[in-house]
Symmetry: C2
Subunit: 591 residues, 2 copies
């Protein structure tokens, strides 16, 4: 049982600043220090537990304080329901003697105890989020988020003269914006849309001469159920005029450095920068985790004259190659790999203690090839080689295996990645367009249609658009994309060409943007950082839900209030919509 | 015609901070000073106009700079389409000689010129908002907004230890929340709702031990067409634990003082504070404009023995009274009042130069009554008296006339209110409940059901709820309510009583909040400031649209992008809704 508890609430705090200003209390529990001995203090907080019927251990957001209760204070003794051993407290040196006590509220039996070691199911945490947030980890996460965001604002506003501008979230549906929530208006058939990002507005602000814009922008994405995604999320949204890629990258490096939590090792800048091509070649992925090596290698040479049928076939096709990764000490996961996830397109080679190979390929490889393979891969006894043959598509497969093997190794106790390391990386020079999956003769934007081409590729936009690289940059942290942006097209004619001729989209849907570009748009570019993801990596949280105060469940539900919920037909009338109930489901409505 | 324009864009700015850091430019136009003479500078901006075929007047957000163009630079001379006289520039003392020029973009003929003196219609401004925002007034408004908000954050976070927490905007519909937009989900019949404020979340955060919460919160209100309202708006949302009214009021006074624009006269604190009762008695309104007097007076005594029928009737009814306001120098609007808006329930008395009265009541008033009237009202020749008789309901009528007369007087050139004055005022001790308009035997919350009663009235909650005053406080500035808040009910049993017994609402709809209060909720209270309104008063804007980057029109439309817009039936399928077209309107759909 928890009791709300405070000492001497009849007078006000004399603090004029800090966490106790304007409050009933004079101090927080966690800030009591030997220097306060002899002072009369007022504390407000929760009874964490009672100890020996004599002490109340009181908790507030800042920590614990042990308070000696005079023996005539009977009421509190009733509250003793458990006594547990006390972990060392930062204020353990001093003792607080209660002079008066006021019980401000009482507490029902809680569904779980507010103790950090008490494990709760995810759904229970979500249902009673207001209790879950009392945990020291969640308090840390939310308070760190606030501090980090404050530092970001100081850096952008005060150091670099950015203007914080709020943009609308009730907007017009983007052409093809399948992931946008719709919001019915009171005009029949007309809907607002909740935008996935303020992309159009930030560019319009550049045309408007705002010059340096930023916003902590709430964004919306209706993706149904995707793991660790939220229907609403927050991005640090930035746009600048008269700037190039290097300018934006420098700004962001400074931003990260400035706002980085003081308790972590400082971040050094500039961040390494690699091209998309190099990332794919070395890591098989466009957001490489560079905390460990295990890079992809082209070992085609080794099998130049091979008799092994599928390798020969692979090498004979256009662009064919044989790729490998070497997993140091991979022997420990040799069997696990086969058990769990081993794809049949990949051959596994174990380098035994005596240097011999254990593999299905072994029998078909001449000794010289084996020797060459070990040399090329710099493989030593105990290592594991994963080999894949095909075109360049075999790289993403190995890239995925690389990450899975790192996890398996760590699960087996082999240190692969330093959990306290933060590896930032820029990935640049992405292709501007990619073939559409459903119709490879058509092109679609690799990121979005507003990205400008690299200056040296700009001439190809009108001749060989599939060859054009864009001025897009991704910021990657420990193998997660935490941000992305680009220098934008700022000439209306280029934008029109991209929309109409290359992407075959109806440019009239973006006529306001085209008109704006045609009104003297400055060269401009920007970036958006995924704040939730960034924070979850900093605090080492398994999910972005752990850095959001009131997140939705996997299925997009608020388990506390039970949103989304049914709305009566009557309430929908003013929006001129009605629900199409699937056959047999109508009964659900009344719930 | 406007040309984008810069000098020497081939090298980067060497500034590491400020508005030119990381940019192509080295200086902004407005910051060039005699001390820069001899320096090579890089400017980026718009060609405002050309002068004598020799000078380019260049504009960026910071101001203008005059640049001398060498005679061989022919291209620019083509751009001369108008020459107008130059107003004095802050940098007028120095001259910039162009060494090189790069034209970054060209510009079509604009729908209006970017000159402050060019008057544009509201709809044209909205349609080309990205041009409208280039005006110096809109630049000032948006930049002031950013700075003011930054100072507010510094005050709350850095000075008082508040935590900036983001709360969801996809939430559950509030019982009776007729003004909430609905957002269909992918589950048939289930809708999210866009909340009007984070009220529930801020209280839950107090239960969660966040202790001091704030947020610049985006809020939503679907009110159809109301003048100078926006479907989405921003409030400075604040909540604190272990605090009383005085604590919150002190916090807000400090907040306003800290964030107040330096170019304005400083704000003095504490703000005056009056009760709701006194406000209604003196001003006939709960948000009085205290920049001028013209207070309401009870002149019942004067007509104690009157023969005038309707006054006698008024005084004979329970609570009957006769109220008046005296308008100094009101003679100048005597005829206008009758022309424009004069309500027949009000009698007008003009005090003529000779002290005689001109009024329909004149004939029926004995000389002694006239004398008493002039004395009570302290009316002098040239003043106007407005008299209304009835119950207390006649006060709001006079309160409204008081404001209308002030406007009329100002329109006639009589100084009533100092346009540079900012009068802050707290209004407190509101009734907690009011009789429902449609059923006066039922009570409804005067503000919202979470407001705590005044401690001295708390015992009445269970006996005479209509007599209970609440711990609600409104912040009023120059007669506009710019904020409101309260100390909340923090005991579940009291909250349940208010919801169930007094308001006859189904408490199960707020079961999560009741459960939360029952989990040891601390005493807490908070406030929300309407940021848009507050800013519009500070900058003297006629509408909140002038402090919002991309506002909606009166009818809730985005005239630039044409939102809300039609969405195909197909796109609505995944949300299981269809449009109910009003008869004969279906053809509209394809637009």
């Amino acid at each position: 049982m928890h009791l709300r508890f405070s000492l001497n609430v009849n007078k006000h705090s004399t603090c004029t600043t800090g966490s106790s200003s304007l409050s009933f209390r004079s101090h927080t529990c966690g800030e009591l220090r030997p220097a306060d001995v002899g002072e009369e203090v007022i504390l407000c907080g929760w009874v964490q537990y009672l100890r020996q019927d004599l002490f109340v251990i009181m908790r507030d957001f800042s920590g614990l304080a042990q308070i000696l209760i005079p023996q005539d204070e009977v009421r509190l003794q009733v509250a003793v329901t458990f006594t547990i051993s006390v972990t060392e407290m930062p204020t353990g040196e001093i003792e607080v003697l209660a002079e008066s006590v006021e019980i401000l509220n009482v507490c029902r039996k809680l569904p779980f105890e507010i103790k950090d070691f008490v494990k709760k199911s995810e759904s229970l945490r979500m249902q009673y989020r207001y209790l879950d947030l009392r945990s020291s980890q969640m308090q840390y996460n939310l308070r760190l988020r606030s501090q980090l965001v404050m530092k970001m604002r100081e850096y952008l506003c005060n150091v670099h003269g950015f203007v914080d501008v709020e943009t609308p979230t009730l907007f017009k549906r983007t052409p093809g914006g399948a992931k946008e929530f719709v919001v019915p208006s009171r005009e029949p058939g007309r809907f607002y849309s909740l935008p996935q990002s303020p992309q159009q507005f930030k560019q319009l602000l550049m045309v408007a001469g705002i010059d340096r814009y930023f916003q902590l922008a709430r964004c919306y994405r209706d993706e149904g159920s995707k793991p660790d995604r939220q229907p609403e999320f927050t991005q640090v949204d930035i746009e600048m005029s008269f700037v190039d890629q290097a300018g934006i990258r420098g700004l962001i490096e400074g931003l990260v450095q400035y706002s980085w939590p003081v308790e972590k090792d400082p971040v050094s800048t500039p961040f390494p920068c690699i091209t998309y091509e190099k990332a794919m070649k070395d890591y098989g992925v466009d957001k490489p985790d560079t905390r460990f090596a295990m890079k992809l290698m082209d070992i085609s040479k080794t099998f130049h004259n091979t008799e092994i049928e599928f390798l020969k076939d692979a090498l004979n096709q256009p662009g064919g190659c044989i790729q490998a990764i070497c997993i140091p000490d991979g022997a420990v996961i040799f069997f696990v790999i086969f058990l769990y996830f081993f794809p049949k397109e990949v051959s596994v080679v174990l380098v035994k203690a005596d240097g011999a190979l254990k593999s299905s390929l072994n029998r078909l490889m001449p000794a010289s090839a084996k020797q060459q393979l070990l040399q090329m891969a710099q493989a030593r006894p105990g290592d594991l080689l994963l080999i894949s043959a095909g075109t360049q598509e075999c790289r993403p497969l190995l890239g995925k295996l690389r990450l899975q093997c790192a996890e398996l190794l760590e699960g087996s106790g082999v240190a692969v990645r330093d959990p306290s390391a933060f590896h930032f990386l820029w990935v640049v020079d992405f292709p501007l367009f990619l073939p559409k999956e459903e119709d490879p003769d058509q092109l679609e934007s690799a990121h979005h249609p507003f990205t400008a081409p690299l200056p040296e590729d700009a001439h190809l936009l009108y001749s060989l658009p599939h060859k054009v690289r864009g001025q897009h940059y991704d910021l990657v942290l420990n193998g997660c994309e935490i941000g992305g942006g680009s220098i934008r097209i700022h000439k209306a004619s280029d934008q029109q060409h991209v929309l109409e001729t290359i992407l075959k989209e109806d440019p009239s849907l973006l006529s306001h943007l085209l008109e704006a570009l045609d009104s003297g748009a400055p060269p401009h570019g920007g970036i958006a950082l995924g704040l939730d993801r960034f924070l979850s990596i900093i605090v080492g949280a398994p999910s972005i839900r752990d850095v959001i105060a009131f997140p939705k469940s996997f299925r997009g539900h608020d388990l506390m209030s039970r949103a989304p919920d049914f709305v009566s037909e009557d309430e929908l009338k003013s929006y001129h919509i009605s629900v199409n109930w699937p056959a047999g489901d109508e009964g659900n409505q009344e719930k």
